[in-house]
Symmetry: C2
């Protein structure tokens, strides 16, 4: 197990009706609030009106950044920064999923930074100060509600970059599974794939003796495999929504990867897909992951696939290791298919056009991945996924 | 799943050589430090000298509360309070396991409290302020390094009580598995039993749909079952010590019980044994737990024992539920026996003498346990454990 540091400063309020903590959470930091959200879903579900009522009851003056994109863009961050500065905002309230939260995180830091917000996306070390951030989560997927990461895109240059800072941890996150009842089926499926990808990215590591992390990862994967289909078919199933929501936070907060940190593989490959084709992140991950697995399965990695097959998918441990590995990958593919997630990149509009450039960009850093990948490897994985 | 709140403010530095963070951690809070520790082991291992060197290099003035008992006593807490007040202490450094840490926690709050420290043990709500606490962990067991609990005994009245406060979270905990290489074999065994008990106390719950918590608990239990014997037989095995140490913290920080909180069963029963006979906490838990399980196994609880048997101990799920349950309890007994933990109370000096009184005291609150227990139930469990 590697050395590590671990701390989760975010205060989580989990469960039905936890929005009752919103007023006290906001007022700890001030009365002038920037409300950041995406599409119109928070208006359709009534959450927007609930928040407005709390604002007016507690004397909050609010300003709005609406329309944050599914892959949030640096131009939107810049708009948010301007709104904060013009209105002397004290605290940011992000309502939504990873897109709104990530956008709000970078706004929170860029307000306090003299240069352009994109600098902070390229280099998190420049972040020295940030406005406090409160989150109301409405989809279980990225884990951004309890982590220090943010991913922002510049569609002019087709760049989608991740950045991080300890100042990005939300001060408070309100996690009410009922807010996810209205998540569309395809987004429920994509969210589940995203959670699982966060776990698998670190589950496939080479760090000796990171046993406890592996066993916790398996527990979280089993939770997604059990409840993903239930939430997909019964959107109002509280138990399924609650388990997926808490799994999404725990998948990325550190218990699965502190001590066995390894460079992500599927995420950098998917980020290029989103940057060039603006596809749904979780769908891109689900399409690529099985092909990545097939590409890297060999005598060095098969042991990890055996763990994955036996402990996650319940495959008979007495079978041949490669049979277990192949069967585990097949089960993962079948699982995605059971959630009606497309299985090829063509289905989501990706063509051969930018593949070589994307593979070049994605492979930057992948020499340190669980199984090192060159741009030729990434290109092969993209082509197999087409 | 129940509603819950969750936050882990403690900063963890985990791994070899993490004592390098001690100086910066202390100096954040001041120069006047109360060092709290137990027996002479920190002197024998050289850790005491290392700490003294850091103190003198960083200009720390230190005061000492040595000799904290394995079941820390309220008189020792009072001595610590006096030392803090006399010397105007800024920050407390606890070095050891749960005993030293728990003692330091109650000192930290009692210094700021006008009445007697025992008030705070009886009622954690009275705690409004506390000195900052830094921890260096030297045994994996209680999880006190990353939680808000403390257990203190008054041997005059044979009371051993738990108390808690959010102010009890250590500010920083340094977790270096190498510091546990010198833990005696019997304490390694007892520590493993203590970690497992923390997990099992909450694993056996009646909360519907707390699935993710159960799967994480199983992962932690498997870690203890895998590494307990390795650490017992190879005290210097870093991998085993590291996994047990991190499991001890995660077993109690909340991921196993936030959302499925239930009143402990074995702990209250064991606390009476320690209060009357000053036995090793983990040993008492290991003796009682299988008898508690046998006592409560019935048609209402058997499903949970099936999960326990199949998912933790790998028992064939196609067997009869009671066969699985019996076999799981037997495997737990065999596991404790493999660590040479006594299997009867008589072996550790407990007689029939106080059993009735102890059962009366222990059963207070157990009407809300996973399986409600009366004083007659507790007495039966004590007698079966004799």
């Amino acid at each position: 197990m590697n050395n590590f540091a671990y701390q989760i400063p975010t205060e989580i309020y989990f469960g039905r009706g936890q929005i009752k903590h919103l007023e006290e959470s906001l007022l700890k930091f001030g009365h002038r609030v920037l409300l950041v959200y995406g599409g119109g879903s928070i208006k359709r579900t009534g959450l927007y009106q609930t928040i407005q009522t709390i604002f007016s009851q507690s004397g909050v003056e609010s300003f709005e950044l609406a329309g944050v994109e599914p892959n949030p863009r640096i131009d939107t961050v810049r708009k948010g920064v301007q709104l904060c500065r013009q209105n002397n905002v004290d605290v940011i309230l992000a309502v939504g999923g990873g897109s709104s939260i990530d956008c709000a995180k970078v706004i929170s830091a860029a307000v306090k930074y003299k240069g352009d917000a994109w600098d902070l996306v390229k280099n998190g070390n420049l972040i020295k100060e940030a406005l406090p951030l409160i989150v109301i989560l409405t989809i279980a997927a990225t884990g951004s509600e309890m982590d220090r990461f943010a991913v922002i895109s510049d569609m002019n240059t087709n760049d989608k970059l991740g950045t991080f800072s300890p100042l990005f941890y939300p001060k408070v996150s309100i996690l009410d599974p009922e807010y996810t009842f209205t998540v569309p089926k395809n987004q429920t499926a994509a969210g589940t794939a995203d959670i699982m990808s966060h776990i698998m990215e670190r589950y496939f590591h080479n760090i000796e003796g990171a046993y406890v992390q592996d066993r916790l990862s398996e527990g979280l994967l089993k939770t997604c495999i059990h409840y993903g289909p239930i939430a997909y078919h019964e959107p109002n199933n509280y138990e399924a929504r609650a388990n997926l929501m808490w799994a999404s936070s725990l998948a990325i907060d550190g218990i699965t990867w502190r001590g066995n940190d390894v460079v992500n593989s599927a995420h950098p490959m998917e980020h290029q897909l989103s940057a060039y084709h603006d596809i749904t992140h979780g769908v891109g991950l689900a399409i690529i992951t099985p092909h990545w697995m097939k590409h890297i399965l060999n005598e060095k990695t098969v042991g990890k696939f055996v763990d994955f097959g036996v402990n996650v998918w319940g495959i008979d441990s007495s079978l041949d290791p490669y049979e277990i590995a192949d069967s585990a990958i097949k089960k993962l593919e079948n699982f995605y298919a059971s959630l009606d997630i497309p299985s090829t990149l063509r289905e989501v509009g990706v063509t051969e056009e930018h593949l070589v450039t994307m593979a070049e960009k994605a492979s930057n850093g992948l020499e340190n991945a669980f199984y090192p990948l060159t741009s030729a490897d990434v290109l092969a994985i993209y082509k197999a996924s087409l």
